[in-house]
Symmetry: C2
Subunit: 316 residues, 2 copies
C-alpha cells in the first residue's frame, strides 16, 4: 500500500503549475510550497502538472526544479516527479554505469517487481536510451556477476503460485552444495536464482532452511568480494525471499550511527511511496521497535526531511 | 507477406465446423475436404471454427483431427490449427525436451521474432506450461550452450534502427578474435550475440566482413560439437543476419537427395505461411533457381503434399 496522502479534492493542474511557478519566483525558492504541491499528488496528477507547466510557461518543470532546489532535496524531487516506470528506468540506467555498490539498485528493480512491471521498465529503457537494459548490464560486467545480473534483468519469470516440491528439494541441495563448498562454479546456482519463479524459489529456500537449520543468505560465506558478485547474490536472495525485510535492512543501514546514506534513504522512500511503503513501514516498526518516520526524522533535517515525511504520509 | 489464400467470402464458422464434421464421418476421412477448409482460413477464423466446433459437437476439434489424420499430415495440421503464438509456444516447449538437433527451433523463435512477438510467445508459454521458457531452457542445458540459449530467449532486445559504428567495429574485433583463436571462453561473444539489437549486430557482422573478407558464419570453425553449442551459435548468427536466407537453407537441407526431412519442411511452412513465407519463397527461387512449390511438390506426395501446397498459396 502507498503512503502518500492525496487530498480528496485537488486543485487543477493549471492551479498547481501556477503555485509552483509562484514558489520559484522572487527571492529564494519556497521549498515548502513545492513540497506542499508535489508530495501530495499521484503519478497521473504529477504528469498532468508537468505537461500543463510546460505548456503554460514554455519551460521544462523538471529542469526548473533542478535549478531551484539543491542537494538531497533536489535529487529526491527529481526522481519523485518522474513517472514511476520512467523513474525506475532512469535509476537502473544510472546503476549500470556506477561502481558495484550500486548494483543493488539493479537487483531491487529486477527482483521486487512483477514480470510485467519489470517489462514496463525495460520498455521505457528502450525509449529513453535507445538500447536494452540487458546490453548495458552485460557490457559493463563479467563472469559470475554478469551471468547473475543478466539472468535477473532478462528472465520473464513465471508469476504463478504453483510449486514443484520435488524440484524445490533437489534444487535446495544444489544451492547448499554450492554455497557451503565455496565452489567458484556458480552456474547451477545462477540458473536457479535467475530463472525460477518466486514461488518456486521460496519453496526451495524453505527446504534449505528446514534441512540445514539456517537460511541460504546466512549460509552464504562472507569473504573477499572484488567484483561485487557476492553482494549482488545476497541482495537477490533477500529481495526474492522477503522484499519488505530487505528494504528494512537497507533503511536501517542507511541510518547507521556512522552517518546517514541519503541516497539509499531517498531511493527506498521515493521508489515505494506510491506503491508498497506501508508494508515496509510496518516491517520497520516491528524490527526496529521505532516508527520509520521517527527514525528518519532523527537522521535528516530541513526541507529534505519535510519531503520524506510527506511521502511517508506523516507531518513533521 | 503471407502465402495462404483466404477466399474473399468464407462460410460461417458453423458451416465450416459442419463441413469438417462431414469430412470426419463415414468410411475414412475426407482429407481433401479438411484441407479445403482449414488451409484457407486465417488464424482468427480457425479459432472461431475451433470454438464453434466444440460448442456445437461437444468435442475438441484438435483431438478429433489427430484421430482422423495420421503421419506428416496429422503433425502439420495439428500445428497449423493452433493460434500462431500458441503454436510457437508448443513448438519451443517440445524443442526444450529434445536432443540438441532440435535446438534450432528455439533459436528460430528467439531470433526471427520481434521482441514483442517473442514476448507474446513467452506469455503463452506461462499460461500453457505454468513455468517460464527461460527455466526450461536453462534447466536442460549447461555451459556455453546454456548461456547462449538463455540469452537468446530471455533478452528483451532493443528493436530500433540506431547503430553505434565505433561499437560495431570494436565488437567485430572481439568476435573475430573469439572465432579464429578457437578460444573456448565465449563469454564476450555470447554477450554480444545475446544482447545487442539486430541492427547493431548486423552493423557488427558487416564490419567483420569488410575487415576480414569473410562472413562470421563462414569464419566459425567446423569441428566436434558434442553439446550442439556450435550449431546453435551458427543458427543464431544466420537467423539474425538474414532470416530468409537461413530458412531457404533449412528448406534445401530438408529436401536433400538423401531423403526428405518432413519435420523441418512442415515447421518452416506452417510457422511462416501466414506471416512471411512469400519472402522465403522469393529467396528460395533466387537461390535454388526453382520455385519452392515445385521443389516441395517433387519431394512430397498425397494429402500432405496438397496441404503444404495450399499453405504455399498454390494448386497442386
Amino acid at each position: 500500500m502507498a503512503t502518500i496522502v492525496v487530498p480528496p479534492v485537488t486543485p487543477s493542474p493549471a492551479e498547481d503549475a501556477d503555485a509552483l511557478l509562484k514558489a520559484f519566483q522572487g527571492w529564494g525558492t519556497d521549498e515548502q510550497a513545492v513540497i506542499g504541491v508535489l508530495a501530495h499528488r499521484d503519478a497521473t496528477q504529477r504528469k498532468q502538472i508537468r505537461l500543463t507547466y510546460e505548456e503554460n510557461y514554455n519551460e521544462n518543470l523538471i529542469q526548473r526544479l533542478q535549478s531551484e532546489l539543491s542537494g538531497d532535496l533536489e535529487r529526491a524531487m527529481y526522481h519523485w516527479v518522474l513517472d514511476p516506470v520512467e523513474r525506475q528506468a532512469v535509476m537502473v540506467n544510472t546503476a549500470t554505469k556506477c561502481i558495484h555498490e550500486d548494483y543493488a539498485v539493479i537487483v531491487e528493480i529486477a527482483c521486487t517487481n512483477s514480470s510485467s512491471e519489470l517489462l514496463a521498465v525495460k520498455r521505457t529503457y528502450h525509449v529513453l536510451y535507445k538500447c536494452s537494459l540487458e546490453e548495458d548490464v552485460a557490457a559493463r560486467t563479467t563472469g559470475n556477476l554478469r551471468s547473475l545480473l543478466l539472468a535477473l534483468v532478462s528472465t520473464y519469470r513465471y508469476d504463478g503460485d504453483e510449486v514443484n516440491d520435488a524440484l524445490a528439494k533437489s534444487e535446495a541441495k544444489i544451492l547448499h552444495e554450492t554455497v557451503t563448498n565455496g565452489d567458484t562454479d556458480h552456474g547451477e546456482l545462477i540458473r536457479i536464482v535467475g530463472t525460477r519463479s518466486r514461488a518456486q524459489l521460496n519453496a526451495t529456500f524453505s527446504w534449505f532452511r528446514d534441512e540445514r537449520g539456517t537460511s541460504i543468505t546466512k549460509a552464504l560465506q562472507h569473504g573477499a568480494d572484488p567484483t561485487g558478485y557476492s553482494h549482488v547474490l545476497r541482495t537477490a536472495l533477500r529481495c526474492i525471499s522477503d522484499a519488505n525485510k530487505y528494504f528494512v535492512k537497507v533503511l536501517r543501514n542507511a541510518m547507521h550511527k556512522s552517518g546517514t546514506n541519503e541516497d539509499s534513504l531517498t531511493r527506498v522512500i521515493v521508489l515505494h511511496a506510491e506503491k508498497d511503503l506501508k508494508g515496509i513501514k510496518d516491517a520497520f516498526q516491528k524490527r526496529a521497535s521505532v516508527a520509520l518516520e521517527k527514525a528518519i526524522g532523527n537522521d535528516t533535517s530541513g526541507d529534505y526531511k519535510s519531503f520524506l515525511m510527506a511521502l511517508l504520509g506523516s507531518g513533521i
